[in-house]
Amino acid sequence: MRTIRRSLPIAALAGVALLASGCAPSGGAEEATPQSGGTLVYATGDAEPTCLDPHVGGNYPQGLISTQYLEPLVGRDEDGTLQPWLATEWEASEDGLTWSLALRDDVSFSDGTPFDAGAVKANVEHLQDPDTASSTGYLAVKEIDSVEVVDASHVEFHMSTPKSSLMEVLSQQWAAIEAPSGLERGQEENCLAPIGTGPFVVESWTPQDRVVLTRNDDYVSTNPQAEHDGPAFVDTVEWRFIPDAATRQAALASGEVNVVDNPLPADIVAAEGQGISHLDAPRPASANRIELNTAQAPFDDVAVREAFVRAADPNPGIESLFQGTATRSYSVLSSVEPMGISDEELFATDAARANELLDDAGWTERNDDGVRVKDGETLTVRFPVSTNQSTAAEQSLFEQIQANTAAVGFDVQLNPVDLSAWYGALAAHEYEAVSAPYTTVGPDVLRILYHSDSIVPAPSGYFANNAQLSDPALDALLDKALGTTDDDERASIYADAQRIILDSYAVLPLYDQQNHFLFQGVTGIEALHTISTPLLLNAQLTK
């Protein structure tokens, strides 16, 4: 979709690019007109990836940076409708076991090799290869039995079982397409600089400092969110790693960097008054929620779960801690998923009711600290908190929930731990409550998170169904949705599934997965409608 903006001729662009080779934007801040060239500095607070190839592993930091140099087969628009990108058409067979895709024939990778069906096949096989150790991408292509190269621009996926969500999950960055020539170099080299079709190319990576990306001058505009034909406007992107939020904000304020992610709520609120722009792009799939472990006491009793939910009262905390930047969610799915349903009344705070429920459930005694006791067991809730994944505001919110539920007799034990120990606690089932964000694309996330199959751990011990829901009716609905390609029917099935999940009180939705960006001295920053990462293709410096 092109807007009526002036699109600069390629020749002029190249000329300016030669002049402004990789230097900071020129001085003279008389007017804020967009210009060509220059270096855009992006400072991320997320963990530094250990490999720039998002096939390996598959976390959000990799998604953020690979958005600039790798492109997936399909995109989405803001309504959630799939859009052509590297693939132009796609269709499933009647039985759902064969998907036929038509691909663009005018695109090359940045090393000159052509993008074709053979490349798609190589990528799927790379994702499925155990040596790659892909997590998110692997889940996307797990059901693909084989890939058939029909001709250079047509490919067929033969599925082991129908998967209606296939194209949705292929829109993720963790299943983006890399050059087979790049993959063939071996993982060690490919991790340093994957080769893709995107608007930028990885030039260098200084660990713990920055990754330098240079413009791909041969970029062919296939991105549905491109606003102009041809290469990006800026010459270079410096991707800096600044883990400390206060330092990052100071760098933005002083002009050292142009774009930051993970800003503090107070900084978001103050941004407008400081001439800093704000981009709010909630992550797709699931919302941020607290899940209660239904497989062991005390939350194996639905009454106790409801009591917890009724007593938690997160709304005042969300208001004051996030200062208006986060809206309370009553849905399991993110607000950018069109098939989400929500139910505010189900989660209305009611401390009296909570007390009633607990009394009826047999938790009538209390010990000296005011914690309820039943049959010699205290009403203890172990809540491991990942300091990597939960922001300071969120950790404070959990403290407030801890205090609110203590008033009705819960003993919530918050345990802030590093990521490794956190996964360890989950794998060992040493938790009664946990908040585990999950990012993918599409409502099929419900199957990943709440199907009983997801209680079975991977060899590493990891499993996604933290609520440990095991409901045959729910399983049946989720499996059925996977085999249904008609969108209206899918929406209805997923609505029923969400109804079951919400009514079980095993999930306390909080808010969308927060994904805010602040930027200054640059325009044209927008988020991909797939995984909500910022796209720098249309960005222009303004100073």
Binding site: A246, S320, Q395, S396, Q402, A403, V417
Partner: protein, 278 residues
């Protein structure tokens, strides 16, 4: 405290405290009260959340302001003394205790023991405190126990060295030689001469050490290796408040002042006790 004054065998009685020392002592007394009976000094719960008061700046109602959940910062600092100073005390006790054992064994035992223990001490010195703490976290996870262990282990060599040199000096002193000459048993010599003359410098050093330990505990909390919420430990408050430093400076400044004041007071007191002049 210079090397010379530390070696003087008869040093260490109560020298005149002076103005600085008196202020420090007064502060430490208040601190001890906060550790022992926080409820007397601040009869409000440090855990009581009040979202409406979130980020309240300093005012008569909240002299040091309120934190992000509306909890009064002054109240949390008073109650937090128990954790912060308590952990510092525990770590120092561990370090001084270990140092005592190693120091005495080194100073009084056979030469091979002295050599061997000397190597152990060198190894522990070769690992800077935070490096040691990170290692321990990798093994034990974060929390109070590992903090105490890390700081105790890291400071033990320091105490061991001081003890060892004191013990050796005293053990070679004239009056000990005379006592032995007169036939006094080894154990009696130990109790009546060596111990009294070595413990006082240890106490003085340990007082200094508690101050340092409090700072180390806060550093570990900053790196995310400390106490569990909602504990009002000063370092944890500092770490949590630092995120909001540009909009709610009081959440960072006051806990920081508490740490600095406590450590300073203890250090001044420790130096006075050891007989230093300034």
């Amino acid at each position: 405290m210079s090397a010379v004054t530390a070696a003087r065998p008869s040093a260490g009685r109560w020298t005149a405290l002076g103005a600085g020392g008196t202020v420090a002592l007064a502060f430490v007394v208040v601190l001890a009260a906060a550790v022992a009976v926080p409820w007397l000094l601040a009869p409000v719960s440090p855990l009581a959340v009040s979202p409406a008061d979130g980020f309240a700046p300093p005012s008569p109602a909240h002299p040091f302001g309120a934190d992000e959940s509306g909890r009064d910062v002054l109240v949390r600092i008073v109650h937090g003394a128990r954790s912060s100073v308590g952990i510092g005390l525990a770590a120092t006790a561990l370090g001084a205790g270990l140092g005592l054992v190693i120091g005495f064994a080194s100073g009084l035992g056979p030469r091979w023991l002295d050599s061997a223990l000397g190597r152990v001490i060198e190894v522990l010195f070769a690992l800077p405190t935070l490096v040691l703490a990170l290692l321990l976290v990798a093994v034990l996870g974060s929390g109070t126990g590992p903090s105490v262990l890390a700081i105790g282990l890291a400071t033990a060599p320091g105490y061991a060295r001081i003890l060892r040199s004191r013990v050796r000096t005293v053990a070679r002193g004239d009056y000990v030689a005379y006592a032995r000459l007169e036939g006094v048993g080894r154990a009696r010599v130990l109790l009546r001469h060596i111990v009294p003359n070595t413990l006082w410098p240890l106490v003085a050093t340990a007082t200094l050490g508690i101050g340092q330990a409090v700072v180390w505990v806060a550093a570990l909390s900053f790196l995310g290796l400390g106490q569990e919420p909602p504990s009002p430990e000063w370092g944890a408050m500092l770490g949590a408040g630092r995120v909001y430093i540009s909009t709610a400076w009081w959440m960072t400044v006051f806990p920081g002042l508490a740490i600095v004041s406590t450590a300073t007071a203890l250090t001044v007191l420790g130096r006075r006790l050891s007989g230093a002049t300034a």
